[in-house]
Symmetry: C2
Subunit: 224 residues, 2 copies
DNA sequence: CGAATACTTCGATAGCCATCGAACTAATTG
DNA sequence: CAATTAGTTCGATGGCTATCGAAGTATTCG
């Protein structure tokens, strides 16, 4: 038996479930009720959907008191979702993105555990400009100068790299259609921004809200 | 409106359609009847499925006489399928791969327009060993020596590279769980192998069948 | 031309599954 | 302990869609 693609497809292929998955792209673990709200369905229905997503291996659960926190199973799954975003947005050519919510998402949002959106692609371009990243379209590496740059910023590369996860990896942005920074470094940049309180995760979406000062500081730090 | 992931999911999320998509991963354009056979359904049903896949942007059609040839819409879509393969095979942990057909697939098969399977991952490892490819786990570039190596083999890198497609790009192999060679160079290697008649595409599957002599010649050419 | 092949369109049918109301378990709070 | 909150299980319903038979169009072949 070849691996079963169809079951994965059908898991994503339901409006309610896909809304949940997208919500979880924010990287935060969400409770069943939050996800029910996100998907505009009753708690019962949500429960059955979530059971399927866990059974199907796309989500994992952590029980905590009377809450159950759901999360994407890992980078692999997040990659799949982003992949589908890219395809579907490359299809609807001139898709109409209107409304304030979408504007925020386009400006800056969270893609699993790193930043995405306009600001994130600007950052990536600037890092390439400064030759901190060597970009070969779909593959890229952090240069020695780049490593030094992040060390100076306070990133603990030894801790951050380790494991099997690539240090620096481009991730195609569905709204900008350019690369933004994923990988361990991408994750570090996001956590750094949040720790410095330059930006906060939006409560109900994947949007990442920068304060005026925070945005200024961010641009200064990375020379944008 | 955010791009619609669910429709893409549901397109893949049907047994018959997923079988068709997998068959098309062989890279060859197939006719409607061939795909109907592949999916074990009647011609009428296949026709409706194919219409949906085209409408949904996953496939493209070329009309030729009384035949209609279907193909994956591009590398992006092929990547999605491979992506799902990886997830689903990482789920069914110790999935049982038995039967001669699967053995052939594991040894050598076609992944859209390049080689995959055991032989392909061996090739990739060897190229990394010889420092023709600089591998940074999920990103990689062709070194100067590597470029020279392929030029010597007769690859026309200027023609082969061009465009926006990366020259050299790793692609995670679902049966081996290692990288194999994708990108323009990956494509060139496959077409070279076929042109030299060292191997032939299997008629009814994605398997790539090497002749004894062909396999020997291939291993010699790439020093395996 | 007539016959065969490739494919589509149009029903009708049947099975699957998303949905929610109702009733349950389980944890928390006061 | 009773009341509230979080989540599940069960059963009924309704809608969606994969399926194929039958009949249609288009193309090729002899």
């Amino acid at each position: 038996m070849e691996p079963n693609i169809a079951t994965i497809g059908s898991l994503v292929g339901d409006q309610a479930r896909s809304k949940m998955l997208i919500a979880l792209m924010g990287g935060k673990a969400l409770t069943a009720t939050e996800l029910a709200l996100e998907a505009d369905i009753s708690a019962q229905t949500a429960s059955s959907h979530l059971a399927k997503l866990v059974e199907g291996g796309l989500l994992v659960v952590r029980k905590q008191g009377r809450h159950r926190y759901f999360q994407l199973r890992g980078e692999e799954v997040a990659g799949l979702i982003e992949n589908m975003f890219n395809i579907s947005s490359s299809l609807s050519e001139e898709s109409v993105f209107t409304g304030p919510k979408d504007k925020n998402l386009r400006a800056s949002r969270i893609c699993y555990d790193h930043m995405a959106g306009k600001l994130a692609t600007q950052l990536y371009e600037s890092l390439v400009d400064k030759q901190f990243i060597k970009d070969n379209i779909s593959e890229s590496t952090l240069s020695e100068e780049g490593k030094q740059f992040f060390l100076d910023l306070g990133a603990d590369l030894s801790e951050v790299s380790g494991l099997k996860r690539p240090l620096c990896k481009p991730c195609l942005d569905w709204s900008e259609r350019k690369s933004h920074l994923a990988g361990s470094i991408g994750k570090w940049v996001l956590s750094d921004v949040i720790q410095r309180k330059w930006a906060a995760r939006d409560l109900n979406s994947r949007a990442l809200r920068f304060s005026d000062d925070g945005l200024k500081a961010f641009k200064k730090r990375y020379g944008l």
